[in-house]
């Protein structure tokens, strides 16, 4: 995969840098890393992080230490769809364990694993601020709330269809 933002994305990055005072372009790092993860295969490889460092005129290590600190950045490859199921107290009360077990069975993977076809990764995460709509998970830029086995089936089905259309 070519690790290069489009001209339009580079323009967006310039605009983001402008939000911060002169010389504070490092503040744009979190934003640019989100863009990079979305654009270059869903995770941050070393070449991707080095590219981000060069864009923002930072030392590569400044990027590595940030990428490894925040839980939304994946520093290992993940499937096309990452199911991040919340398992903190309030979601536990509302049966997230059942949902996690159901997904494990259905996709035949354990937490932290990716399906063989590279489509799905299952992760458990800590509270996502949706405790009143539990059980729930994050999928890309959206939340899937009030999960039930049926709802999980539908979500998996939709992802599979979308992936088939794209290929």
């Amino acid at each position: 995969m070519k690790v290069e933002f489009t001209a339009e994305q580079l323009k967006e990055i310039d605009k983001v840098i402008e939000r911060y005072p002169e010389g504070r372009q490092k503040s744009a790092l979190l934003h640019v890393l989100h863009m990079a993860q979305d654009s270059f295969g869903g995770w941050l490889s070393v070449p991707v992080m080095d590219y981000v460092a060069s864009l923002l005129k930072l030392e590569p290590v400044e990027v590595y230490e940030v990428a490894s600190f925040y839980s939304m950045y994946h520093i290992k490859p993940v499937g096309k769809y990452v199911f991040e199921v919340c398992h903190t107290g309030p979601c536990m009360i509302n049966g997230c364990d059942n949902i996690i077990n159901y997904i494990k069975q259905k996709l035949n993977i354990d937490v932290g694993e990716t399906t063989e076809d590279g489509l799905f990764t299952l992760k458990t995460v800590e509270c996502l601020g949706a405790c009143g709509y539990a059980p729930m998970m994050q999928l890309g830029d959206h939340y899937k709330e009030h999960l039930t086995p049926q709802r999980v089936d539908e979500i998996i089905e939709t992802c599979r269809k979308e992936a088939a259309m794209a290929s």
Binding site: S27, A28, S71, M72, T88, G89, G129, C131, G132, Q138
Partner: protein
């Protein structure tokens, strides 16, 4: 019906847009504010008695008055929209459904503080909410509420959204500032406080979303009128995000005069415990505050009614009380296991510790490990004392309050539910499939199903 100041218009169709928000009386407070001086606005906020809604409850007007104002140095207002405390999801609601109330509140606050560039630091996972805010900021700018010389006041202000990337610790104000600077979210040693040295080393005020939104009604109705709502030092209204085993989880705006019992059982609020079960315990202010058994939740140790306000919830101190915290109200019914629930919280804090100070880094690791063993029927009686010992060694010995936040839930669980811990030790097999139940914390309320 209690007073609604923040959510009054939440259900008006299209209130997300500038047009409808304005038509419903939005930006009237900002209009009014630009006719006041910054000092007069701060004075209104002081008079209102508003206390920070992010968790600590520090008086907002006082905090503003600490802001250093050296000549020629920019000042910053930063909105804390990191909202990651388990049980808390109220800020998301405000931003998602009435984004303009936050933006209006921030414009007024920026003017009061002299901040020409203000940031909203929002947790990275709320990606779509960040988009909603961007749209609303764009609308506010297009209508002359942001940019240069706002409403001919001579005041310039820009406002930007800054998305985090998943880290509870970035809700701590100095970690948040580090993260805004594009670094790891490691809390800073205080002093210096952000009011003197904050973002980029400049004087900075960090306030919660709900705090800044509350500035709008304060300016609208005046600080004095705002202070008349509520009771004692709990003035105005508070958003409570209620979750767990209740009939109606969701966001409720309360005026802090209602009792905990009314909040849980009345149809206007939580609607009672779900599935006809009985109330076992509750964490009334987000995962970091002490859990209370039903009997101490509904009545204080003195046998008085407990109310949903700062003073009443903390009545009895940590021995028999809890805290208002962030307003994350987590209800556990008779089928819930306090050991298991506390274990998930210990895991949470261990996962979220930034690792800078050893009592927190090591201590949260110990708590997580011992709690996990306890939950899995592998704990011993001496482990209960060890948990107590570890939590005590964390509390008060760390750079930031995350250490305390990790210690308190464990301490409170042992304090009030020690017999449940002991039952886990004595029943290593049974505890894997069964729960201890209600025991002597029985719900004093008669439930009819």
């Amino acid at each position: 019906m209690s007073v609604k100041l923040l959510l009054e218009k939440a259900h008006v169709e299209g209130i997300k847009s500038y047009e409808v928000y304005r038509r419903e009386g939005g930006y009237r407070a900002a209009e009014k504010a630009f006719k006041l001086t910054p000092a007069e606005i701060t004075e209104e906020v002081k008079k209102s008695g508003l206390r920070g809604r992010g968790g600590a409850g520090f008086p907002t007007g006082l905090k503003w008055s600490f802001l250093a104002k050296p000549e020629g140095v920019p000042r910053y207002l930063v909105c804390n929209a990191d909202e990651s405390e388990p049980g808390t999801f109220k800020d998301r609601y405000l931003m998602e459904f009435i984004p303009h109330i936050l933006i209006e509140g921030m414009i007024i606050s920026s003017f009061a503080l002299g901040s020409n560039r203000s940031y909203i630091y929002i947790r990275g996972e709320y990606a779509w909410v960040a988009d909603i805010l961007e749209t609303a900021i764009g609308e506010a700018r297009a209508n002359g509420w942001l940019g240069k010389n706002i409403q001919n006041s001579g005041f310039d202000c820009e406002m930007y959204v800054h998305r985090g990337a998943g880290a509870y610790i970035c809700g701590e104000e100095t970690a948040l500032l580090e993260s805004l600077e594009g670094k790891r979210g490691n809390p800073r040693i205080k002093p210096p406080f952000p009011a003197v040295k904050g973002l980029y080393g400049c004087p900075t005020v960090v306030n919660n979303v709900e705090t800044l939104a509350a500035v709008v009604p304060i300016i609208n109705i005046t600080g004095e009128e705002y202070a008349k709502i509520g009771v004692g030092r709990s003035t105005g209204t508070k958003l409570i995000s209620a979750c767990g085993n209740i009939k109606k989880p969701g966001i409720y705006e309360i005026d802090m005069t209602i009792s905990v019992e009314e909040f849980i059982y009345s149809d206007e609020y939580c609607g009672g415990i779900a599935n006809g079960k009985r109330l076992k315990a509750c964490i009334p202010g987000g995962s970091s505050v002490p859990i209370l058994p039903a009997n101490l939740l509904l009545k204080t140790a003195k046998g008085e009614t407990r109310y949903m306000n700062y003073e009443s919830l903390s009545d009895g101190g940590f021995a028999t009380g809890s805290m208002m915290g962030s307003g994350g109200f987590i209800v556990l019914d008779e089928d819930q296991c306090v050991v298991k629930h506390t274990y998930t919280l210990s895991r949470f804090y261990w996962h979220e510790s930034c690792g800078q100070c050893s009592p927190c880094r090591e201590g949260t690791g110990w708590l997580e490990k011992i709690m996990r063993n306890m939950e899995n029927g592998k704990g011993t009686m001496s482990d209960i004392d060890l948990l107590w010992d570890v939590q005590r060694r964390i509390e008060g010995n760390t750079i930031c309050p995350l250490g305390d936040a990790a210690a308190w839930p464990v301490a409170a669980a042992i304090r009030h539910f020690r017999d449940e811990f002991e039952w886990h030790v004595l029943n290593p097999e049974k505890c894997l499939t069964e729960n201890y139940g209600l025991a002597h914390y029985a719900d004093p309320i008669q439930v009819t199903t």
